[in-house]
Symmetry: C2
Subunit: 326 residues, 2 copies
C-alpha cells in the first residue's frame, strides 16, 4: 500500500529557456543524481522528449530502475497542471500546446505531472523548504520576471483553467511601466531583476547624485550591479532597493487581503539581496496591510539552494501522483 | 450514515448590525420557517444568544425538532470560521472576542459553524445559487461596504487566521479616498453603495453639467438616487456608474491573476443596477486582464433573492458540519 516505501524516489525535470535540468530526488529532498541537456536545438518536441529520456533513463537505472520511481514532476513556463501541457510558452522553442507530461509517461511508463515553474517552486518549498507544514502561503519568485505560486488549504491554487497565480502581473502602478505582456504597471516591471535594472536606469537619468552605478554603461546595468554598489555603501543603489521593496510590499499587502497566508516566501536572485531589499519589503508590507493582518504574515526567504531549487520543486509535484495502474 | 436524509434541514442565522434573521432551510434552499429579533439591546452576548434560541427553538420544534437539524450556520461581520468567534466587530454591540458558535451549540445541542457574511454569501451561492457546481469562483458583495468570499478547489479560502478574502480593502488607487479602515484608496471607497454616493458628490461638486442629482441635497445622495437618475437617462448618473464599474473591473482583473476563477459573482444592491454598472465592469475587466485570462471569466449576478440570501448563505455553511457526537 505504501508506495513511498516501495518507490522511494521521484524525478524532477526543470525546463528552462536555455537548459533542461533533471534529477532523481529522495523523500528528504536530496538530489541523488542529476544531469542536463540544452532545451533548444531539436526539430520537434518529440525529439526533445526522446533526448531527455535518453539522458534520464541511465540515471534511473543506476538507482534501481523505473520501479523505484514514484513519479515525474515537470516545471516549465506556461505549464498547465490540469492538462499536463505547455501552452504557448514565449521562451521555449515549441509553438502551440505541447502535451509534455503525456510524452514522458509514454516513453518511461512513469506517471508524470507538470506545472509552471513558480508553482513548482512553491510545492518544493512546501515539501522540502521554508514552508514545510504550512497550509497557506504565497511563493514569490523574483527572477528575470516575477512569478508566484499560491497555496491555500494545503493545496496549490491552479484556478479553473490551470493558470492561477500570476502575481507578477497584478497592476501595481496604473499607467506605469510598459510590461512584456502588453499592459502597463505590472508588478514584475518593478519587482524583478529586470525591474531593478530599469529603476536604476531611470534614477540615473533623472538625477545627478554621484553613484558607483554611473561607472556601468546604462544599458548593461543589472540588478547584480545595483547589489554590488549597495554593499559598497552606494546611497543611490540602496535607494533603488528601497523603491523596489516598497512597491513589492504594497503588492504583498493586497495579496494578504486575498488569502491571508501564514507566510510569504521570496525566491530568486533579488531575494538574496538581503536587508537591502528585505527591510523595505517588510516595512512596506506592514504599513500597507489592513489592520486585522498586521504582524501576522511572516516574510521568509526560500531555504532551497538556487542550483537545486528548480529540480526539487518539480520533483515535489510527483509525490502526490498515483501509480498509472492505480 | 446519510445524515442529510435523517437530518433534512439546516438553520441559518444572519447577524447584522440592526437585525438578526434566522430560518430553517431544506436541501433545495427553501426557507421553510424564519423569524428575526433586534441585534442590539441585550446587556450581554449571553442574553442575546438566549433570545435568539428562545425565538428559534419554536420554529425547530414545529418542523420536527432538533433531531431534524443537520447543523447551524452563522454569518456575521468579523466572523472567524476557525474559532467560531466574532472578533472586534465594529458594527455589533459586543466588544472583544465572542464565542458565538459555542454559545449556540451549548444552548441547542446542534453543531454550529460561523463565518463572515461575505463568505456565507459565497457558500450560499455555491450551494443554492449562481455558482452551483463551481470549484473556483469569487463572490463580491457590493453593499454599504465591499466584501468578498473566495472559493478555490471547491473550498472557502479562510487563510491561516480565518480572515482571508478582504478584497474590499485591496488598494485600487494609491493615496486615493480615505477608507474607514484608516488607509487610502481601498476598493470599497469606490465600489460600494457608499462609494457610488461619494463619487456622485465629488462629480457634482467638480462639474457644472445639468443633472437630476442636483435636485437631491448633496449630503443625502444615495446610490439608489444615482440609479434612479441613470434610468431616467441622466448622463452624469450613468457616468458615475461607468467610473465605478471601470474601477471594479480593474480590481477584478488583479483578482483573476490570483485565483483564475471560473466566475465572479456580484451580490448586493449595486449589482442590481443592471447594465449601467455591469457593462462597464465587463468592459474594464476584459481590458485590464492579462492575455491568458481574456474571455475566460464569467461575470454573474447572484441568483439568491436579497431577502433570503443572508439566511441561505449562513445555512449553507451547516451542510458540511459533522454531528457533535461523530
Amino acid at each position: 500500500m505504501n508506495s513511498n516505501m516501495e518507490r522511494p524516489y521521484v524525478v524532477g525535470i526543470d525546463i528552462g529557456g536555455t537548459n533542461t535540468v533533471f534529477g532523481i530526488v529522495d523523500a528528504r529532498g536530496t538530489i541523488i543524481a542529476s544531469s542536463s541537456i540544452k532545451t533548444a536545438g531539436y526539430p520537434t518536441a518529440e525529439e526533445y522528449a526522446d533526448e531527455v529520456c535518453k539522458n534520464l533513463l541511465p540515471l534511473i537505472i543506476a538507482n534501481g530502475g523505473v520501479d523505484k520511481i514514484r513519479g515525474i514532476g515537470v516545471g516549465a513556463p506556461n505549464g498547465n497542471y490540469y492538462t499536463g501541457t505547455i501552452e504557448f510558452a514565449p521562451n521555449l522553442p515549441w509553438k502551440g500546446v505541447i502535451p509534455l507530461a503525456a510524452m514522458f509517461e509514454e516513453r518511461l511508463g512513469i506517471p508524470t505531472a507538470l506545472t509552471n515553474d513558480a508553482n513548482a517552486a512553491a510545492i518544493g518549498e512546501m515539501t522540502y523548504g521554508a514552508a514545510r507544514g504550512m497550509k497557506d502561503f504565497i511563493m514569490i519568485t523574483l527572477g528575470t520576471g516575477g512569478g508566484s505560486g499560491i497555496v491555500v488549504n494545503g493545496q496549490m491554487v491552479y484556478g479553473h483553467d490551470g493558470f492561477a497565480g500570476e502575481l507578477g502581473h497584478v497592476i501595481i502602478r496604473r499607467d506605469g511601466r510598459l510590461c512584456g505582456c502588453g499592459r502597463k504597471g505590472c508588478l514584475e516591471t518593478y519587482c524583478s531583476a529586470t525591474g531593478v535594472a530599469r529603476t536604476a536606469r531611470e534614477v540615473l537619468a533623472a538625477r545627478t547624485d554621484a553613484s558607483l552605478l554611473r561607472d556601468v554603461p546604462a544599458e548593461s546595468i543589472t540588478s547584480k550591479d545595483v547589489y554590488d554598489a549597495a554593499v559598497k555603501g552606494d546611497k543611490l543603489a540602496q535607494e533603488i532597493f528601497e523603491f523596489t521593496g516598497n512597491i513589492l510590499g504594497e503588492a504583498l499587502a493586497d495579496a494578504v487581503a486575498f488569502s491571508s497566508p501564514e507566510a510569504i516566501v521570496l525566491f530568486g536572485g533579488l531575494a538574496k539581496s538581503g536587508d537591502y531589499i528585505m527591510k523595505p519589503i517588510e516595512k512596506s508590507l506592514e504599513e500597507n496591510v489592513l489592520n486585522i493582518y498586521k504582524g501576522k504574515t511572516k516574510l521568509l526567504i526560500s531555504e532551497l539552494k538556487d542550483s537545486d531549487a528548480a529540480v526539487l520543486g518539480a520533483s515535489a509535484l510527483a509525490w502526490e501522483l498515483k501509480d498509472l495502474k492505480e
